[in-house]
């Protein structure tokens, strides 16, 4: 009797084991789906889902299952969710990560378990340098690259001095360091604000105004960018001290920033009007599938992430246990990125172009972003030498 009981238990246990690798491709997606920045997470999810639609919801002949987890923009929560996805859901890939501090907290879990992590936004300098890993790939950029392009553009415009303002967290520090590394004029001031709770920038704007700087540079993603532009305009600085931005004006913030955003330049590696067929398909189908919404660079990067994963899974014909082969395939960047030219450096950070973008009224009379010029071609991040992986 007892023996029969044990036997039955063992059988049930064996049956209850999670499906072994091979049935489905499991992907965990960590992003922010609650709170004021949930709109960013939604855009990433929308784009990732659209990419799966375009792939027929299959990779390497196997159905794809995606588990979305909300990090609430908090590093500790992001780490927990990453652990849950890897340890209990046994996903093959973790994707997403808007925030550099959330990514840095979650990184070790993925790397230690040899699970591929594809960051489709955050690009902290540490990740490009000494924390680089064979299991981590980026479909975005290293944080410094975009502001570096802005700094280069400011040199082209002949700007002599700048006042820098940004949030006090990993990405904020990278962004301001990025501008400083390329901008040849004088940096007359540098202010960090409490992130993400501080939304009133009166003290910083007053300092910028009194510093007699010729220009202001800011990095404020999400709603903070709307607030900054509001307060900048209300302080009467528009037309007085020109503003340069990175990740402050996008398709999510534009409907709220409205005319405040007109004439404020920014840099980006992807703009909705880039003339590549993959990009046209992405933008058009996105607007068709999600009526009233427009894709952002966050979405474009997530769309690319799905295609990057697909390239790896196809190369091993769905056998995700072949990690070395998948890694080798992803290093080739053997997929068509919506941003056009795309290849990987030794640290798995893209080498890519950065464009100057401006805000214009489009055919529908709505404000939208437009590519004006290419600021830098085939730009590689400045930390790749510090990465122990060599090509």
């Amino acid at each position: 009797m007892k023996k029969a009981f044990w036997l039955a238990s063992a059988t049930i246990l064996a049956l209850a084991q999670p499906a072994l690798a091979g049935d489905t491709i499991k992907i965990g997606f960590v992003s922010t789906f609650s709170g004021p920045t949930a709109v960013i997470g939604n855009d990433m999810r929308n784009s990732f889902e659209l990419a799966l639609d375009h792939l027929g919801r299959k990779m390497g002949g196997k159905p794809v299952e995606v588990i979305y987890e909300d990090d609430g923009q908090k590093p500790d929560v992001g780490k927990q969710k990453t652990e849950k996805l890897i340890q209990s859901d046994k996903v093959d890939f973790v994707v997403g990560y808007i925030w550099s501090n959330v990514l840095l907290a979650s990184l070790k879990t993925a790397v230690d378990s040899k699970t591929f992590l594809i960051t489709s936004n955050a690009g902290p300098s540490q990740l490009a340098g000494d924390l680089c890993s064979p299991y981590v790939f980026s479909t975005s950029w290293q944080n410094d690259q975009t502001p570096q392009a802005v700094g280069t553009y400011m040199n082209q415009k002949g700007v002599k001095s700048v006042f820098l303002i940004g949030p006090n967290y990993a990405a904020g520090k990278d962004m301001l360091a990025g501008v400083k590394s390329t901008f040849k004029g004088q940096v007359v001031g540098e202010e960090y604000t409490v992130w993400p709770s501080q939304l009133d920038f009166s003290a910083e704007l007053t300092k910028a105004k009194n510093s007699k700087a010729e220009s202001i540079f800011v990095f404020y993603p999400g709603a903070a960018g709307v607030q900054f532009l509001n307060q900048y305009a209300q302080a009467g600085l528009k037309g007085q001290i020109p503003l340069y931005t990175a990740f402050t004006i996008d398709e999510l913030s534009l409907p709220l920033q409205k005319d405040n955003a007109i004439g404020v330049p920014g840099a980006q590696q992807w703009v909705n009007d880039l003339p590549f067929p993959e990009n046209k398909k992405f933008v058009e189908d996105y607007r068709k599938k999600y009526t009233g919404l427009r894709p952002t660079f966050y979405g474009a990067q997530s769309y690319d992430a799905a295609n990057l994963i697909n390239s790896a899974v196809v190369a091993v014909k769905g056998d995700t246990s072949k990690k070395d082969e998948m890694k080798a395939e992803m290093e080739k960047a053997n997929f068509k990125s919506v941003r056009g030219p795309f290849k990987y450096g030794n640290n798995h950070i893209p080498i890519q172009n950065f464009y100057l973008q401006d805000v214009v009224k489009d055919a529908d009379g709505q404000l939208s972003l437009k590519t004006v010029a290419t600021i830098v071609k085939d730009d590689q991040d400045r930390f790749h030498d510090k990465c122990p992986m060599k090509k």
Binding site: P36, A38, E190, E191, S202, T206, K207, Q234, A235, G236
Partner: protein
């Protein structure tokens, strides 16, 4: 010197805004002995109402007045439907129930207005900077916040100190049982006080809206500051809330403005710019801790028997 004037104005403006939020909270906490975590939700609703009504009526002033009325009514309705049943309960029950209300309001807003947030554009006459003393230009809208908030503070002072209702409110803050025993309709008084508190929170929210964005959860961070203020000022004391709010606004703003430069004289530039924002956001909590040690009843406690 001119910079100091401008930064002080920034601090004053922030402080006065916090006062509007804290005044309602301290009244409700002090008089009704009721912990209302959903006060921040009323702040948020004020902002959402204002954004909606301004868009409907195409008039900034009219829209704001309508929003103020709507928040007052919402406050009264909330008290009548839900909170009235919690007065006799433990503080923990009240915290739980009003925390539930925060979640309720956040999701109600998500359903009605969507997750993306709204913007409340200012009329042109409020977007220009005004010259207050030669060489100092100050945003007209921030100046108008200072004026409105000071007027409301004065009005509140007159109502609380010079009218019969105010006398009852003060009496309620000192000894609730006694004024009930004297035949005052305490239920009506509570409803009125709660409505007033809601309208003040709504006013703070709608005035903050053009500076920030109108978004879900906007009241949660600022509510913490409001609680700090009523603890520093003394629970139930309008005067205490006023003084403490100005203190907190000034310390927060001046700390942010001058601490980085001060730290740079002792630390390396990079370390200073990292430490300064962290330290300046800590200052107000340090102040609260000191007040709690030295005067646990707050700086200006409401007279207790």
């Amino acid at each position: 010197m001119l910079v100091l004037i401008e930064q002080s104005l920034n601090g004053l403006q922030f402080g006065l805004l916090l006062f509007l939020l804290a005044a309602g909270l301290t009244l409700v906490f002090g008089i009704m002995d009721f912990v209302n975590l959903a006060h921040g939700s009323l702040y948020m609703m004020g902002a959402y109402f204002a954004a909606t009504f301004v868009a409907w009526t195409n008039s900034f002033v009219l829209g704001i007045l309508l929003a103020l009325g709507a928040t007052l009514l919402l406050g009264i309705a909330l008290e009548f439907i839900a909170l009235r049943h919690l007065y006799g309960r433990d503080h923990l029950d009240q915290v739980l129930a009003t925390f539930g209300l925060i979640l309720f309001f956040n999701d109600a807003v998500r359903l009605i207005w969507g997750p993306a947030g709204l913007s409340l554009p200012l009329p042109a006459w409020l977007t220009v900077p005004v010259q207050i003393v030669p060489g100092v230009f100050y945003p007209a809208y921030r100046l108008s916040i200072i004026v409105v908030a000071l007027a409301v503070a004065a009005l509140l002072y007159i109502v609380v100190m010079r009218t019969r209702i105010g006398m009852l409110i003060r009496a309620g803050a000192s000894n609730r049982e006694m004024i009930g025993a004297l035949g005052i309709n305490i239920k009506l008084l509570f409803t009125l006080v709660f409505g007033l508190g809601a309208a003040l929170a709504g006013l703070a929210g709608l005035m903050q809206a053009p500076i920030l964005t109108v978004q879900i959860g906007m009241g949660e961070n600022i509510l913490i500051l409001a609680f700090v203020i009523i603890v520093i000022g003394g629970i139930g004391s309008i005067r205490g809330a006023f003084m403490a709010a100005i203190f907190v606004g000034m310390i927060d703003t001046l700390g942010r403005a001058f601490l980085p430069d001060l730290l740079r004289t002792v630390l390396s530039s990079a370390a200073a710019s990292t430490a300064a924002p962290a330290l300046s956001s800590m200052l107000i909590y340090l102040l609260m801790a000191i007040v709690l040690v030295v005067r646990p009843e707050g700086l200006f406690p409401a007279a207790k028997r």
